[in-house]
């Protein structure tokens, strides 16, 4: 009789396997990042690049483009596994599916969200941000990208049985992500104008925790239905 894995061991196995998969195909990770840098750098060319104006539009553009490039990575979350058949085994495994889903989400965040956060200071400098503003931006992106991974997981799992689902995922995820976008961008902006910012950060954190509580279950249910 095979040895029964504990919950934590199951979580870690899934997490490690996904992380390895991401590391083995670096272009998958790098392309969205390059897209993010290029498109945020394109704005100062397109609009009149005066310093005051860049400071004004910077937070909004960074946030919108972060979400946009993040949406491009979402289909790796389940689609690759669905195509080669691994997903069926994941669903059939004795481990609880929401737990494995959570492991996949965490691996996705580490491989897509964390690099985005790491390069975001460069974009902040392009938009003439001060060092302390950049720190605030990193804080909002930290929670924001994790919330994006969680919510995006729902969108990605709802669409695994559809071909060319990339745009559809964006259509589903964007309205749900709007609160995070609003507060993420506004928090940076308010900080620049000297107001208090903690309330915005609290909100994003709360949204993140809330998404954490329902996203694994919703994604697991959607995966089960999609794999029928």
């Amino acid at each position: 009789m095979p040895k029964k894995l504990s919950l934590i061991a199951g979580f870690m196995a899934m997490f490690r396997r996904d992380l390895l998969q991401y590391i083995k195909s670096p272009s998958q990770l790098l392309n969205p990042l390059i897209f993010f840098i290029m498109i945020t750098a394109a704005f100062p060319f397109a609009v009149n690049a005066e310093k005051a104006q860049l400071v004004q539009i910077g937070p909004g553009i960074i946030w919108v483009m972060a979400i946009l490039s993040y949406l491009l990575t979402l289909h790796h979350l389940y689609l690759d596994d669905a195509e080669d058949g691994c997903l069926d085994y994941i669903i059939l495994s004795p481990q609880p599916l929401p737990l494995l889903v959570l492991a996949k989400i965490c691996a996705h965040w580490i491989s897509s969200g964390l690099p985005l956060i790491i390069i975001s200071p460069i974009i902040g400098i392009i938009y003439q941000m001060q060092v302390d503003t950049i720190l605030i931006m990193i804080a909002t992106l930290f929670f924001g990208t994790f919330a994006l991974s969680l919510v995006g997981s729902i969108g990605a799992s709802l669409t695994i049985s559809i071909n060319n689902s990339n745009i559809l995922v964006s259509l589903l995820v964007l309205p749900i992500m709007m609160p995070v976008l609003i507060f993420g961008a506004r928090t940076i902006e308010l900080y620049q104008s000297g107001a208090t910012t903690m309330s915005g950060l609290y909100f994003i954190g709360a949204y993140c925790m809330f998404a954490l509580s329902f996203s694994p279950f919703a994604s697991a249910a959607a995966l089960r239905i999609g794999a029928d």
Binding site: L158, L168, L172, P175, I176, F183, A218, G226
Partner: protein
């Protein structure tokens, strides 16, 4: 049932709108322009009611697996989307003379209504792209529930966002002080439009059920019974 709903809804609507448009006194601030309220408020109200109805049906459909609930959701979605669109359209027509602008990003009601339209559209896009009908039913029901959880969050986030904003530009509708001759037509048109919505919903649900059960026995009996 359907003709009764339809006729009483139509009568109430006609009563409400005729009274509202011709007999109610004009507002001391807004003049005659406020009369669009008799279309705007019912449409906005129904757009929200339709979504809560869909969420309720999705809940029932997922938990008790009642097939007709799916048919109700499918039939309600385009109606809800249209009423949302109508509410936005009449709202901006109203906003033009009153606020001097078609659209005001600072107003939470406008923006959350717009996001609700996006949720409706996302739902319909997801449905349209899954060919298998039972799969489409279940997956889109999950999406509806997620959206329902998010509606309050979206609403409040937009509201708090503007209260974070220095409130000087926050526009208020000139607030027609609701006097009885204005109120009764408004109530009548709300109830009338709701009944109208209900009857359309029943017609569409009936058609949807017939379409889904087209191979089943009772429909054959029904149609042949009519002919014989």
């Amino acid at each position: 049932m359907i003709p009764w709903l339809f006729i009483s809804g139509l009568l109430l609507m006609v009563y409400g709108i005729i009274n509202g448009l011709f007999y109610a006194p004009s507002d001391y601030q807004q003049g005659d322009a406020f009369r669009i309220i008799y279309v705007h408020v019912p449409a906005a109200y129904i757009s929200m009611m339709a979504y809560s109805l869909m969420a309720f049906a999705a809940f029932i459909a997922l938990i008790w697996r009642i097939k007709i609930a799916h048919a109700v959701i499918v039939s309600a979605a385009p109606l809800g989307a249209w009423f949302t669109f109508l509410a936005l359209l009449t709202g901006s027509l109203w906003g033009r003379p009153m606020w001097g602008t078609w659209w005001e990003w600072g107003d939470p009601r406008l923006t959350s209504e717009l996001l609700m339209l996006f949720l409706y559209l996302g739902y319909m896009a997801l449905r349209a792209s899954i060919p298998n009908i039972t799969k489409a039913d279940k997956l889109s029901a999950i999406l509806i529930l997620i959206g329902a959880i998010n509606i309050p969050i979206i609403h409040y986030s937009v509201e708090w966002w503007t209260s974070l904003h220095q409130g000087s530009t926050l526009l208020k509708s000139g607030g027609p002080s609701i006097a009885a001759p204005m109120l009764y037509p408004l109530l009548a048109s709300i109830i009338g439009l709701s009944l109208f919505f209900g009857s359309l919903l029943l017609i569409r649900t009936k058609a949807e059920v017939l379409k889904r059960e087209k191979h089943s026995r009772w429909i054959k009996d029904m149609i042949l019974g009519d002919e014989v």
